[in-house]
Symmetry: C2
Subunit: 721 residues, 2 copies
C-alpha cells in the first residue's frame, strides 16, 4: 500500500482556508477553536459551517461544506460523534485534502465507536484525506501561525525547531507550558488522537523532512506502523534529527501463551526498547525526563566524548554531583595535572582542586577567580563537556547571575566543548529568566539527576550515530537452500523434536553436538562408543518438549553398563510422564564440555516480527531474567551491545582465573540465527536454543538442546510486519 500521500501534510499544516464544521457561537468548542485561530494570528480564510445559521463569529456561515463557493484547504470537524461521517462525506465531496476531527467517542470508547472509526478511515483512504484525529485537540504550525486547535493555548509558544507529536492533548498542553517556561522554540504541535488515518509515523516523517524542525518529540502508547516508523527512524538518524520518544503503557500486562521459554521472558514493552536501541531512537520514561532531554537535544552541540567536568559552588554539592553522576553512569575524570597546577595558582589554598570543582566564588563575587576556573575547565584536554551550576534559583532578580549566563553563552559558542548550565531547582524560575532562555541558546537543565539522565541519552545517541556510520554491516550472510529448509519444516509436526530443530540450525551452519537416535539399549551403547564417553541420553518424542521435567534426560554417562541402565529408566519415565506420547527412541549425544552456557531464543512479536534474545543460561535467566533483546535482523554491533547489556557479562569474559569464553563464536552463531529467524519468520513461531555451550576462546561453541515450534497458517495472521 502506497501511503506516501500521508506524509505530505503541507495543506494540513499550512492551509490557505479552513472550514469549521459545527461552528456555533453557543458552543464552547467552537468558541475555543475560533479564538485560538484568531488570537494566534491565522491569516487564511475561515468558513463556518452550520445547518441552521447564516452567520457565526462575524463570518458568513454555510449550511453544508459543499455550499462554500471557494476552494477549501482544510476542515475542522467538531460535531457530535454520530454526525461525523456525514460531515466527512461532505468534505470528501468538496475535495478538501486535509483536516482535523476533534469529536470523540470512536475506537477509544466502544465497539460501535470502532465501527464508525473504521468507516471514517475508509472514506479518508479512498479520498486521500489527511485526517488528524478523531478524539484529538488538533494541530498547530507555530512558524506560520496556523492553529486548528481545541483547548490548547499556543499564543505564548515561540517559533523554533522542536516538533511535538503527542497522542494525548492533555500532556501536549503540559509540554507546551514547559516550552513557555524553558524558552523553547517549537515548529509544530500535534495532538494526533486515535490516528485513524495519519499515524505518528507519518507526522514524524513530515517533521523529519521539514527544514525548520531539528528535534522531534513524540508521546505514544504504541507505534501503529512499524515499517514506516523504522524508515523514518533511519532517515532521522541520517539527518541527525533525534526522535525523542515517551512510550507509555509499558506496565500493561501482555498475556501470551508460549511453549518456549523465550516467549515468557519477553515482556510486551521490551520490543520497543529493542527497536529504539537498534534505530537510535531516544527513549525516555516520564514527562519530566522528556522535558530535560528535549531541552538538551534542542540546544546541544555535539560533544567529542562523554567526559564531564563540573563546577559547583560548595564542597557538599560536589559530593552530591559525584554521587548522582555515579548512579547515572556519567564519567567525571580526574583533572589533568596541568589544569590542577593552573587552578592552584588562582584558587584559595583552603579548597581542594578536584572534579567536580568546588568554586564558591560566584557567591563571594570574586569574578576573576571564578572566570579562571571556567577557563581552566574549558581548556582541560581530557574533558568533552563542562557543566556549571549557576546560583539559581533565587528569590530576587540578580543582574550578576544574568550577566554570568550571557557570558557563558558566549563562552559556549567559542569552545569546542559542550557547555551546559544547571540549576538546582525544583522551585520556580522568574519571568526574566524565561526571557533570557528564549534569547540565548545554551542547554539549561533543571535538577542534577534529570539533567544527567538527559546527558546520558545524548551520549548514547551519538554513540549510535557514530557506530551507525562506522558499520552498517548486517553481519554474516549464510548461503542456504531455503526451499529445502521450508520443505523439511513442512514435513515436521507443530512442535519439532530436538533433533529436528537441530537439523534446521545445521542448515544455517550453526554447530550442534554430535548425536544419533537409538531405538534399543544395545544400539545406544554402540553409538555411545562411537561418539566417545561420557555421553548424554535424552528421550525423543514430539509430545515431550520439556524432557528434564519428564525425568527423561541423563548426563555424564561414562560406560556401557550405565548406558543400558539409563536407557531403560528414561523410556520408563517418559511413558510414566505421558503414556500416550509417541516415542521415537533415545538420543545419544556427545557431552559438550563448556564452562559457560547461553540461551538464544526467538519469539514473534505481532507488530515487529522475530525478536531475538540472548541470555546467560541457568539461574541468571531463570531467576533474574537477565536477557538482552533485539529485533531481527541483527548487525554485529547489535550482538556486541547485547552482550554488554547482560548483567552477568563478566562470566563470558572470564573471572576467578577462568579463561575468556569464545565470544567470537557466539557472535557468529547469533548472526546466523538472526538470518534463520528472518528467513523463516512466516514458518517458525518460537525457538529456544538452551543451552548453547561455549568453550574457551578459540574452541567454539555447540548447541546442546533446541526447541522449535512451527507457525501454522491459522495463527500466522497474528504476526507482522
Amino acid at each position: 500500500m502506497n501511503d506516501e500521500w500521508k506524509a505530505d501534510l503541507q495543506t494540513l499544516f499550512n492551509p490557505r482556508s479552513v472550514a469549521l464544521i459545527g461552528a456555533s457561537e453557543s458552543s464552547s468548542r467552537s468558541r475555543a477553536i475560533i479564538s485560538n485561530m484568531r488570537e494566534f494570528g491565522y491569516r487564511g480564510e475561515i468558513f463556518p459551517v452550520h445547518p441552521k445559521r447564516d452567520e457565526a463569529f462575524g463570518l458568513r456561515c454555510y449550511p453544508r461544506v459543499t455550499d462554500i463557493p471557494e476552494v477549501v484547504d482544510a476542515f475542522i470537524i467538531a460535531v457530535p460523534r454520530d454526525q461525523v461521517i456525514v460531515a466527512l462525506e461532505g468534505c470528501a465531496e468538496k475535495s478538501i485534502p486535509a483536516g482535523v476531527i476533534i469529536s470523540a467517542g470512536f475506537a477509544e470508547a466502544s465497539p460501535e465507536g470502532k465501527v464508525l472509526q473504521d468507516r471514517l478511515t475508509q472514506i479518508a483512504e479512498t479520498a486521500k484525506i489527511r485526517i488528524c484525529g478523531p478524539n484529538c485537540y488538533g494541530i498547530a504550525n507555530i512558524h506560520e501561525r496556523v492553529a486548528l486547535l481545541l483547548g490548547t493555548d499556543v499564543r505564548h509558544v515561540q517559533p523554533g525547531k522542536i516538533g511535538l507529536v503527542f497522542q494525548s492533548g492533555g500532556l501536549l498542553n503540559l509540554t507546551l507550558l514547559a516550552a513557555w517556561d524553558r524558552g523553547w522554540g517549537v515548529s509544530h504541535a500535534i495532538s494526533c488522537g486515535n490516528e485513524a488515518v495519519i499515524h505518528v509515523a507519518h507526522y514524524a516523517e513530515y517533521l523529519v523532512r521539514d527544514s525548520r524542525t531539528q528535534v522531534v518529540g513524540i508521546l505514544t502508547e504504541g507505534i501503529k506502523d512499524p515499517e514506516k516508523f523504522l524508515a523514518v527512524a533511519r532517515s532521522a538518524a541520517e539527518l541527525e534529527k533525534p526522535l525523542i520518544v515517551l512510550k507509555i503503557g509499558k506496565s500493561e500486562k501482555g498475556v501470551k501463551a508460549a511453549q518456549a521459554h523465550t516467549g515468557t521472558l519477553v515482556g510486551s514493552d521490551t520490543v520497543y526498547d529493542a527497536v529504539f536501541k537498534q534505530h537510535g531512537v531516544v527513549r525516555v520514561h516520564d514527562l519530566d525526563d522528556f522535558i530535560e532531554t528535549v531541552e538538551l537535544f534542542a540546544k546541544r552541540k555535539r560533544p567529542r566524548g562523554g567526559r564531564l567536568g563540573f563546577i559547583a559552588p560548595s564542597g557538599a554539592e560536589c559530593g552530591l554531583i559525584a554521587d548522582i553522576a555515579t548512579d547515572i553512569g556519567i564519567d567525571l575524570p580526574e583533572l589533568p595535572a596541568k589544569t590542577v597546577d593552573r587552578l592552584k595558582k588562582v584558587q584559595s589554598p583552603f579548597l581542594s582542586i578536584r572534579n567536580p570543582l568546588n568554586a564558591p566564588e560566584q557567591y563571594t563575587r570574586k569574578e576573576k577567580i571564578f572566570n579562571a576556573c571556567i577557563a581552566a575547565l574549558l581548556d582541560a584536554d581530557n574533558l568533552d563537556i563542562v557543566g556549571l551550576r549557576l546560583p539559581l534559583p533565587r528569590m530576587r532578580e540578580d543582574r550578576d547571575v544574568v550577566n554570568r549566563f550571557v557570558d557563558l553563552v558566549q563562552a559556549g559558542k567559542k569552545t569546542e566543548k559542550l557547555l551546559i548550565v544547571f540549576s538546582r531547582a525544583s522551585v520556580s524560575l522568574p519571568e526574566y529568566w524565561r526571557q533570557l532562555l528564549r534569547e540565548h541558546e545554551i542547554p539549561f537543565l533543571l535538577e542534577y539527576r534529570k539533567g544527567f539522565k538527559a546527558l546520558k541519552s545524548l551520549l548514547s545517541y551519538y554513540r549510535f550515530i557514530d557506530r551507525d556510520r562506522a558499520s552498517c554491516d548486517a553481519g554474516v550472510r549464510v548461503d542456504v537452500n531455503l526451499g529445502k529448509v521450508k520443505g523439511l519444516l513442512q514435513s515436521f509436526g507443530r512442535t519439532l523434536t530436538e533433533r529436528q530443530s537441530k537439523q534446521i540450525l545445521a542448515e544455517y551452519g550453526i554447530p550442534i553436538a554430535r548425536e544419533t537416535l537409538a531405538t534399543s539399549a544395545e544400539e545406544a551403547v554402540e553409538i555411545a562408543r562411537r561418539i566417545g564417553y561420557p555421553v548424554v541420553l535424552k528421550i525423543e518424542s514430539p509430545e515431550i518438549a520439556h524432557k528434564t521435567e519428564a525425568r527423561a534426560v541423563e548426563i555424564g554417562i561414562s560406560n556401557d553398563a550405565e548406558v543400558r541402565a539409563d536407557y531403560g529408566r528414561i523410556m520408563e519415565n517418559a511413558r510414566a510422564h505421558n503414556s500416550a506420547a509417541q516415542i521415537n527412541g533415545v538420543l545419544v549425544q556427545e557431552m559438550v564440555r563448556g564452562a559457560r552456557e547461553v540461551i538464544i531464543g526467538m519469539t514473534q512479536d505481532s507488530q515487529w516480527g522475530p525478536m531475538i534474545i540472548l541470555g546467560l543460561g541457568g539461574i541468571l535467566v531463570e531467576v533474574l531474567k537477565d536477557i538482552a533483546t533485539r529485533v531481527a535482523p541483527l548487525t554485529r554491533f547489535d550482538v556486541e551491545e547485547m552482550m554488554h547489556e547482560l548483567k552477568g557479562a563478566k562470566i563470558l569474559e572470564g573471572f576467578r582465573g577462568q579463561p575468556p569464553a569464545d565470544i567470537a563464536a557466539v557472535i557468529d552463531i547469533v548472526l546466523r540465527f538472526s538470518q534463520l529467524c528472518l528467513d523463516l519468520k512466516a514458518d517458525i513461531a518460537e525457538i529456544d536454543i538452551n543451552p548453547l555451550m561455549i568453550c574457551e576462546n578459540g574452541k567454539g561453541a555447540k548447541v546442546v538442546d533446541c526447541l522449535m515450534t512451527r507457525l501454522l497458517p491459522e495463527s500466522r495472521h497474528n504476526i507482522g510486519p
Copy 2:
C-alpha cells in the same frame, strides 16, 4: 564520656544576648549577620566586639568579650582563622555556654587547620561550650526569631515543624528556598559545618526532643558519632518523628585491604544503607527527592496500607502514572466491583473505569461528576491512599482550581485515607499557590516519579514502625563459654585454618560438615570410610587461605583408590603453590548434598563495627554482587528482610520444581553468627562462611568451608565503636 550537655542546646537556639566577635561595619560578614538578626526580629541584646572600635551598627562596641559587663548567652565568632582560638578563649573566660564559629580554614582545609580545630575542640570540651561550626553559616530558631546566621535569608521562612540540620550552608539555603516555595513551616535551620564540638547526632537529639519539631531533615557526609546517632534514631522511631537523611559522598572509593571475600564486597557507603534500614531512618539520594520526601512526611497522615487509587485527567496520563508506579513499586489495585458500578452510573460511557481513573471533568468543569469520582475512591474499601492530580501548573490564576484544592483539604481531613495532591510540574508555581500551601496542610507533590518515590519511603517507614513494635526480638541467644572461645582464638595464628574457623563456629552451635584431619593417605582412607563416601579432600595449611586457587581441593571422591591418589596430588599441588607453607595435612570431609549455597560473611567497619552480609553463593555473589548487608546485632526481622532483598531470593524459595530450601535453618545460623560477631568484635577481623550448604526444608544446613582472620591488637584501633 558523658556528653549529655551537648544536646542541651537551649542557650544556643534561644540566647537572651549575643556577642558578635569581629563586628565591623566595614566587613560584609558582620553586616550580613547583624542584618539577619535585626530583620528576622531578634529580641535579645547584641554586643559587638572589636579591638579598635567604640561603636558598631549603632551599638556600643567592646574591645574584648570579657569587657562586656552583662551576662552573654551566646557568641558568633567571625574573625580570621588565626584569631579564632584567642576569641574562643575569651568566650570561655566569660563563661558563655554556646556559640557559632563562622570562620573557615580548619580541618576541611589543611593539616594546620586540623591542628587548630583540635585545639578549638579541646577548649570547648573543657569549658562545655556548645559550638556550632567552624566553617558554617550558623543557626536559626524560626519560632523564636533567632538567627545567628551568615548569608542565609530566613525572613521568608514560616515557623513550623520541620527541623533541618545541614553540613552544607549552600544546600541549606537551597532547601530554605524550597521551604518558601512549598509553604513549609520550619522549626530550626542549622548549618553545622565541621562539627568540631556539636555533631549532627546532637542536633538531631535536640530536635527529636523539641516538641515543636515533628520531622528532622539531615544532610551529612557521614555520621561522626555512631552510638549517639543510633540512640537518637531509636527515640525518634519511638516518637514517630522521622529522620530523613541525605547522606552524600557515597561514590567515594573506599580502599580497603581484605583477605576475606566479604571485605571486598562491602562498599564504604553500604554500612549507611544497612544502619538506616535497621533503625527506620529514611534515606534519600538527592536534594530533589529530599524535598518531596520532607513535604510528604511533614504533611502526612498515617496510611493504613500501601494501596493507591489515583485520579488523573487523561487516559494517556493514567498510562504514564501506571508505568511510573510499576517502576517504583507502588500498588495500584483494581477498583472493587462496587466502586466500578457506582462510577459507571455517573461517568461517560466513553471512559473506562479503572485505576488510575481517567476523570477529565475537572477540565470540562463537570464538577458534580468529578466530585463523585473523588468520593467513590475515598469510599473504596481496598484503597489506603488516594492521589489526585490537579490541573496545575497553569499560566494564569484559576479560582476553580484553588477552590478544588481547598475542598480537597476538607475531604482529606474527613477521610481515614491519606489524600495526596500531585502536580505535573517542573514548571513554576505562582505566588498565590505558595500562599495556599502555607495556609492548608495537605501533601502536595511535584512530578509523579519523585512523588511516588517519596510515597514509597513513607510506606517503608511505617512498615518499620509497625514491625519494630511487633517485635524487638534480638533473635537467638546462645550460651557460650566466651572465655574458652577467646582462649582458643589466642592459640591460633592470624589467619585461622578452615578447621580452626569451624571450631569457633561450632561453639555457637552453627552446624558444620563432619571432618577430620589426615596426615597420611592411609589415614585419609580410614576417615573417609568412617564418614562414608563420597568425601571431599582439602589441604590444611595456615598459609593457604584460598585452597581452590592452589588446586588443593578435590570433591566427590567415591572410593579408597581415589582418596589415595587425590591425597598425593593435593599435597603436591600445595607444595608447588607455596613451598614454604606449613602443611598440617589433608582434611577429609563429608560431601554435603545441598542444592543451594549461601555465603555469610563479616567485615568490620571502622565506625559501626561488625557488618554482616548474606548472599547466594556462586555467580550471584561473584558476578552480580547480590548481597544484603546489616550491622550486628541482627533481629529475626533483619534476617528476613535481608533474604527478601536478594535478587536471587527465588532460588531459596524453590523454582522449576525444586522444593524450598530450609530457610528457618539459615535464619537460625545467621542469628547465631550475629551473636558471634558481636561477642568477638574485638578479636575477629573478618569471616567468610562460603558456602553454607542448604538442604531442603526441614533438613537443615551445614557450613562446608570457612575462613576467619583474627583482629590483632596492633590493628584494633581502626575498629569501632
